[in-house]
């Protein structure tokens, strides 16, 4: 089954929704593809209990009204000439495009520490997503830890679903978080957002300079998490809990961009990063012709940056350059906010040294940190230990190893996600290009 679009958008989060709507507003035939059954992405993920935010509802309605075709449960597995090989519950599908917009978003950075693989421990955004989908959390004692404003959003969702949030343990020092809060005066909408989040979290301790050093399992209950050890400015103490939601911020999903050959960079001149993002120009064009990127894929920037970049990429991909250029000042402003976040929530070097020699690094293939000693590149380590060879293809361990300064992740290869062999066997051979859907 083959489909053709003038503009194809990968990822139906805020950036992708905005991109699809902007492109469709110029009359382009637009497809919006996502691995999930509903649009919204991570930040606007459907919540079984709560109504979607107004902005999310509006964005989804606008794309539908603009005639955008939503391709649900479409997992991209390989790139083809001006097309993608996609797996759907109905089987393989080829989706061809004139222009492609990568709005692939971000995932959480998970850093290994002793006990991090115990049942009861998830990412912060990870637990938030589970709970939105109806995972029972009511009455459970939950500690939220890691870094960034995402922790507040996750804690608020957990509380709204009945969790007893024991505390938010932010690794950034109080001085940095306070300096960040003062800067919020320049972004009033965000200040309001932060104040309302804090109000919803009234009574929940928000601790700074705090890191989870280790987690401990119960000897009676299948080694399920029962306590964590927290280190803060006053020393170390133990906290009993049922769940730990811990995330060290976000990192861009660039695997599809890598597969397409888009040039990547690590961080900005001001802030180095161990994780690559897609390089784009002012019109959000990547280094590959007809391929654009918007939102977190271009470097972690948050919701507002994602939305304006989605619009710019959508306009540009549909050939409406003026409309794209008009939005550039807004984009610059939102990217300045992103830089603030990166600066004030930079990771404390203590979190790079949490893993012990016997701590598991690669959960797919059971590889401990000490097994990786002496390797200076990911491929040599993989060949000798299988680290990163499993189902997540190094998305977790490879990113963690890059963050803690071991080695950078290897490049992407098809399939981007595990797929049925029958799908892989349907990979497109000849480019079915025709001028009719290339021009716009």
């Amino acid at each position: 089954m083959t489909a053709r679009f003038d503009v194809l958008v990968v990822g139906a989060g805020p950036a992708g929704l905005a991109a699809a709507q902007a492109a469709a507003s110029h009359g382009a035939r637009v497809g919006l593809l996502d691995a999930q059954p509903r649009p919204g992405g991570q930040v606007w993920r459907h919540d079984v209990r709560k109504q979607a935010p107004r902005a999310a509802v509006a964005a989804m309605q606008q794309t539908a009204a603009a005639g955008v075709e939503f391709l649900a449960q479409h997992q991209v597995v390989a790139a083809e000439p001006h097309g993608l090989l996609v797996e759907t519950p109905q089987g393989a599908r080829h989706v061809h495009y004139g222009a492609l917009i990568l709005a692939s978003g971000a995932r959480e950075l998970l850093l290994p520490f002793p006990g991090w693989t115990l049942p009861g421990i998830t990412g912060a955004g990870g637990l938030q997503a589970l709970v939105k989908q109806g995972w029972p959390i009511a009455g459970k004692r939950v500690a939220v830890a890691g870094t960034g404003p995402l922790l507040l959003a996750a804690a608020a969702t957990l509380r709204a679903h009945g969790a007893q949030v024991l505390g938010i343990f932010e690794q950034a020092p109080a001085a940095a978080v306070n300096a960040f809060a003062r800067q919020l005066l320049h972004w009033p909408a965000r200040a309001v957002q932060a104040i309302s989040l804090r109000a919803r979290l009234a009574g929940v301790p928000y601790r700074f300079g705090s890191i989870v050093r280790s987690a401990h399992g119960s000897e009676h209950d299948n080694h399920k998490l029962c306590a964590i050890e927290i280190e803060d400015t006053r020393g170390r103490h133990r906290l009993e809990c049922d769940h730990l939601a811990v995330g060290y911020g976000l990192l861009p999903n660039v695997e599809l961009a890598q597969l397409l050959g888009c040039a990547l960079a690590y961080g900005t001149p001001e802030y180095a990063s161990a994780h690559p993002h897609v390089i784009v120009d002012g019109l959000l064009r990547t280094s590959v012709a007809d391929v654009y990127a918007a939102g977190e894929a271009c470097g972690i920037g948050g919701l507002a940056a994602a939305r304006v970049e989605g619009l710019i990429a959508g306009h540009a991909a549909a050939g409406a350059t003026d409309a794209a250029i008009a939005l550039q000042p807004r984009r610059a402003k939102e990217r300045r906010f992103a830089a603030l976040l990166a600066k004030h929530f930079a990771l404390d070097s203590r979190v790079h040294d949490l893993a012990a020699p016997q701590t598991m690094i690669c959960r797919c293939e059971d590889v401990s940190l000490s097994a990786l000693d002496g390797f200076i590149d990911a491929r040599a380590a993989k060949l000798a230990t299988r680290c990163g060879m499993g189902a997540c293809q190094g998305r977790i361990c490879g990113s963690a190893l890059a963050e803690i300064g071991r080695f950078t992740r290897s490049g992407a290869r098809p399939p981007l996600f595990p797929i049925r062999l029958s799908t892989l066997a349907q990979a497109e051979v000849a480019p079915p290009l025709s001028d009719e859907y290339r021009g716009h």
Binding site: A384, A391, R413, R420, L421, T423, A425
Partner: protein, 368 residues
Amino acid sequence: MSGRCYDLIVIGAGIIGASCADAAAAEGLRVAMVEPGPIGGGATAAAMGHLVAMDDDPAELALARYSLQQWESFAELPEAEFSRCGTLWVARNEAEARVIPTRIARLAAADVEAHAIDAQNLYELEPSLAPGLHGGLLVPREAVVYPPRMARYLVQRAQSHGAVLFAGRTAKQLGRGTATLDDGTQLSGPVLVATGCALPALLPQLPMRARKGHLVITERYPDVLHHQLLELGYADSAHGDADSSVAFNVQPRPTGQILIGSSREFSATDAAVSPAMVQRMLARAFEFMPVLRDLQALRTWTGFRPTTPDGRPYLGAVPGEAEQWVAAGHEGLGVTTALGSAGLMLDLILGRTPAIDPAPYAPSRAVI
């Protein structure tokens, strides 16, 4: 310059170079190894790791037999990940099955145990095979190993016997009993070049082509496949000269994963996964094992087999050069024949009578 003088300088630490360095160090030679990339990072990393006796060329069979005997000493070594799954050659029809008695006889002459299998027996051994197949040939003692870890083990064992590894270094130039590295380091001593597909960079007089292959590995399905399965027509693909070919060749990994091959291409020079070849290769595999269609593929990769004009490796002295040796060009049998190749090389280098006749592998045959 005392630390720069060796009895043997092995260039390349794939499975061949690693085996030669290990054998030399075990003999008490002062050995240097030079490897620009990861140990076993070339064809060794891409290989299936099937230890198999191919009997269509008597010289290949003699080398395989000699080598397979040595592989037995690693059967219990954790690093080898040795798994004695046996090889089952599948015949689709009576015509294909006709070669089986000849093959059994040739293998028996080389002390390799093999049995003819009828259709009923075939499905008892491998219930997931497509219906309607005729029978096969079972070689029960053959095994699979994990080549890059084995290469690493051999390099480390050589190091424990005093060998020195110049890691991250490339040999740029060979002289009479010298090798110059890319950082200017001069090593002196006899040189053994085991750089596989990269051979022409140092020894352009020895023709070598890179023959691209694709592999696909699945998630873990421990009960689907029990033997390394190949179609009886495999040798036509492996030893034929077609520009591109595919053959049914699947392997049960000790992890429960299934490794699916195989393809051969002479004209493809880039390492990218080719959807067209993956498609052809999988279509072939589905014909023999339809159940594969519904399994999850985890990864795909490619590799290049170092291929000489006659398909046999170069094992011996570099023609016209003193103190230069070569061990390269094993096509798809480098893992199987690595240990035997190393034994043969050491005998030649030390002036002993080799355990097998070295003449079929003499590099001089390639120089006109």
